[in-house]
Symmetry: none
Subunit: 304 residues, 5 copies
């Protein structure tokens, strides 16, 4: 085990050895094994956006096994998906790559202003599927945030008692935040803090923009001269907000974009001290060789 | 054990020995050990107001371990924080200072007129983290107060059965009270009474102003000549309202203010028979040496 | 055991012996022991109206122990209070007077048109505190009455299975009734009936006025010449409405009033066949000797 | 409440108010109310020895109601019986006398050398029957003592949490003790100690003889000159063994004997500081007037 | 917190913070606070050997409160006793000294060759009594050892999940070991190892003699030249057997002996690296001033 991996595990020394062992499984898997960095493949878009929007552009991706193989071939640390996608491939791939069970989901057939997510899998599911972690999304800013926080807490308590790390996707939305505000620096940093306070072991947030959403927060950013540029400075601020870097924070990729744009984002995450990327649509919506090539470049950046 | 500590424990003689032992742990810890007085460090602002508003002014405070050490160095009776902040430091600080798990929380990404809090930790969490108490906030005056009272009662019953005292932060807000009314004398006294009736062993309220919010209450204050001045008379009235002083009431600090102003408030709390102060932003938003110096002065006042 | 007490217990012969034993404890306690009549001291005003409105006029009453002693000294059958007030005195007074745990409460910081109450204590609380009964308020006429009826029923079912009688304070309020209608004869009689139908063993209602609120009811009162005067005739009608007198109905005192007025009300209750009075503010808002003198006169009337 | 009753309740100050209230019910009932002394009528012989051996000598005693009435007429503090006998009379006698549910039993159709008892009633039974306590027998010295101790502990924990005192009949028998040893001073004192250590609030033992059973114990009695005579000195020693008199210990009557013999035993219990007698066969196996006369004499002795 | 206490807590870094906090409570209490050494007062002899054999030599010790006060006055780290003895004093002494609930017990009225213990208290009892640990005895070598090991494991799992350390008294007896073998070096070392393997956080064993019981073990002791003399070498071997000193091992005192003999044993424990002594009969079977003087000498030795 490398010194850096030991150091990171040290941040979790009040968690039981089961949680730490599963964190170690992810930290020591794939092409970034031992570096303390992560590239994770998440595929919940089929549930979140519908199958055609997700897979029509690259039809082999309709097959759940495609994504296991892609994550393995690309050398990712882990593969994250909802219950059905894992159940449909796990028998073939058991033991080949750490899995994260995405245990709540939301679809756009019912798209409210203030959404909540349905709990769609259990801690016991994660255990029987051999997962290395369980993941949940919360929407801070939604009028329904209370129920999501409470579900995260309850499932997190059960998961950690059974040795499974809790991963929270913390994505602000709803009445409390503007569309632009969803990726505002203050809001993203706040989202990371909330996830950490709820007991998350790993946190997923969106890359922050230079916008500040909340008037009260703006005063603090101005008064204390928290830099909004360059992008890497914003990443650094998010890491501070995640317990001064003592929680693993991974940045999501979002909608499909050009390679250059994505790689620039990755360079900023690396420069700002982020732990890595979770790259879904920019992976599985390309032909596999292209995806592997792109993820290879991402991994090279994180190798430093 | 001092005579005063025994006297205070005597107010709780219908609680089990576990609850009384944990109250004793806090009463007998830190520089105020044995005096029957309290200075507590609470750090839930990261969740309640966001990380930059809380910590940007004093960046070492982004690190959860900072606050454990600050509370220890300052000689506080206890340190109170949400699940994540406790989990991120407790392995290093186990047994060094009594802990209060702040088990519900609210953020300002979703800021309703009538807020409710999410339950973000459990009694079992408090036990496995070695806490001396569990704390919850209630918002009397919110249209959602019913759910908060019921959560306080349920969690309180479970906590006390397991030997953990119940601490209630009783902070009136919502449609039922005006902004000015949130700290009105009648409202603060009422908030203390409600917390006590819900079974709280320790009660946190804001320092009361000389304003009276409720018309019906005003009649009672006028008719019975309840004095509104000086500040210490208001503290005395709040203590009466907390079962004639037979419940521990601690007064919060609120927003950052000048040392003189804060110390005057503390002198008034002491003169009026209050049990002490819970000082968050006025502690961790200063450089550590300044914070310790200020808390030292607070402690000196309470030492009498 | 007197013949009258046996007769009253006979009305409850489908309840288990635990419920009947606890009814007997109250029927056989205090200066009215054995008469089948009740004078009960209730002190939930601290929660319901706030501490200053409740106790400023008689400051010793801020101390929870004051009320236990008052109820004992006055020779009441029982003392009723919320969780906090009972917990703060019961260790000292265990076994000295039957206790009723007031297990839901409402405050006026949030005063809606259609209020609901929060459940603030449990059946297990009542058992560990040694109570002889558990009490709940319902607000017939509130748009939220369904939740209150259901909580009353559920808690009542659990209470009675554990040998604890269910006491219901049945106080019409909310959109469904006018202010004047809250004490209208038809409404009070209806409130008594609802409480009985929900399984209450003891029922608290307000003394009825000669007003009839509901048009459909008015037709029935007129057609059948139900007398509205004198006051004792209205009491008699309420008793009929409480299963022809086969449920214990106690009449509340309400706001502080002159001795003559209160004693006239008591004479009417006695003449009309009521079971007694529950006298809060007219007891604890006077100096103790005056309160005991007044309650002594009330008791003398009920002794007949 | 008398000073002596308060003093006794003070021995139980780590128990909840429910347990103390029910102890107070027994301490304040019957002709010995307020004295701190007990005379209890137990009728489990029908189960333990069979009906003819128990009741043929006084046929009205076949009727379960006979024993309720006898306990009431004699002025006992409480009446103790198994589930069936209580269920068959309690509807008629609810609230008239404190009841103790004898919740385990043994019969002589199956008479082993090392007996265990069957659990024949529950805490919930005791609550629905309105009992003031729950009672169990243990047989220290039986090879099956482990199961009995564990049942006593489990039922005791549940009972006390629900406000019911635990009464233990501690009757040594089995391979570990000789027939003579069952009432040996060392064995009876030991039985009282074991019951207290198991958490019993009230303890029933047999009057001790001057015999010492255990060789190791004999050394201690000799070395420390623990007096074996007179009988009252042995009672005193048993009381010491029951936490220095801080647990209520009642002495059983045993087989039917002459009035003089029984009254002499009672005088010794009184002189030695015992809390009273539990008198079964010497009560219900005589014609009722004789039984009441005899119990009257017993009560007179305990009145002092 | 001293460096040594931190070091010891470090041996338990896979336990949760609750367990470590409670270990710290004991390590930081009494005259040995901070040294990493222990002197504990255990009083379960009343149950184990009977009251007269335990207390007749020093009659004030019949009173359960005597032992709380003795442990406090002597400056012990903790006081250990069965349920009844703790319940009978804890209300008075809550928060004054760390308590260990001795949760299984055995008596000598039933003295089998292969004894088992009865579970006589629960984890919830320990929590409501405010205990710092829960303790159980196991008898390795008894044919019934399986049930004891399993109870220890089950109760230990529940205790540790609730933040309570598990203390095991590991006392070989039964068919598997000769009388002399009960304190044989190989057997005592084996007993310490078994307790550690069962998850014990603290282990109590008897001081080992130079005898080797088991033939197979003797070969290993001879072949590897494990020294049997002096006494401190045997202690050192037991400490090695307790995970190379990474588990707290306390040595019991046994039957009453001369001061010199006992102090020599203590010197050997100290020289051999033991963590301390648990001294029952040599404490409470002397007049209190003598006991405090002797314990003072023991403490001085451990202070080094």
């Amino acid at each position: 085990m490398t010194k850096r991996v030991r150091e990171i595990l040290g941040y979790y020394d009040s968690e039981n050895a089961g949680v730490r062992s599963n964190l170690a499984r992810m930290l020591n898997h794939g092409k970034l094994a031992g570096t303390g960095k992560f590239v994770i493949l998440p595929v919940d878009q089929g549930f979140e956006h519908g199958p055609a929007r997700s897979f029509a552009v690259n039809p082999p991706a309709y097959d759940p096994r495609y994504h296991f193989q892609l994550a393995i071939d690309a050398g990712c640390n882990a593969y994250a998906a909802p219950l059905g996608f894992l159940e449909a491939g796990v028998a073939e791939y058991a033991g080949e790559i750490p899995l994260i069970l995405k245990a709540n989901n939301h679809d756009v057939l019912n798209e409210e202003k203030d959404p909540a997510l349905a709990v769609t899998a259990s801690v016991k599911d994660a255990l029987r599927l051999g997962c290395a972690a369980i993941g949940l999304t919360i929407y801070p800013g939604s009028t329904q945030e209370k129920s999501m926080y409470q579900e995260a807490r309850e499932i997190g308590e059960e998961a950690k008692a059974h040795g499974l790390p809790l991963v929270l996707w913390s994505y602000p939305r709803g009445s409390g935040v503007s569309k632009q505000g969803e990726t505002a620096l203050d809001v993203v940093a706040y989202a990371a803090q909330i996830a950490g306070q709820l007991g998350a072991n790993m946190i997923k947030v969106k890359p922050p923009t230079a916008f500040i959403e909340q008037a009260e927060a703006k005063k603090a950013y101005d008064a204390n001269k928290v830099p909004l540029e360059p992008f890497s400075a914003r990443i650094k601020h998010v890491m501070q907000s995640a317990f001064d870097g003592r929680r693993i924070v991974i940045f999501s990729g979002g909608a499909k974009e050009t390679d250059d744009s994505l790689l620039n984002t990755v360079r900023g995450i690396q420069a700002g001290g982020g732990y890595g990327s979770i790259i879904g649509r920019n992976s599985f919506q390309r032909p596999k060789p292209e995806a592997i090539a792109l993820l290879g470049k991402v991994i090279d950046i994180y190798k430093g």
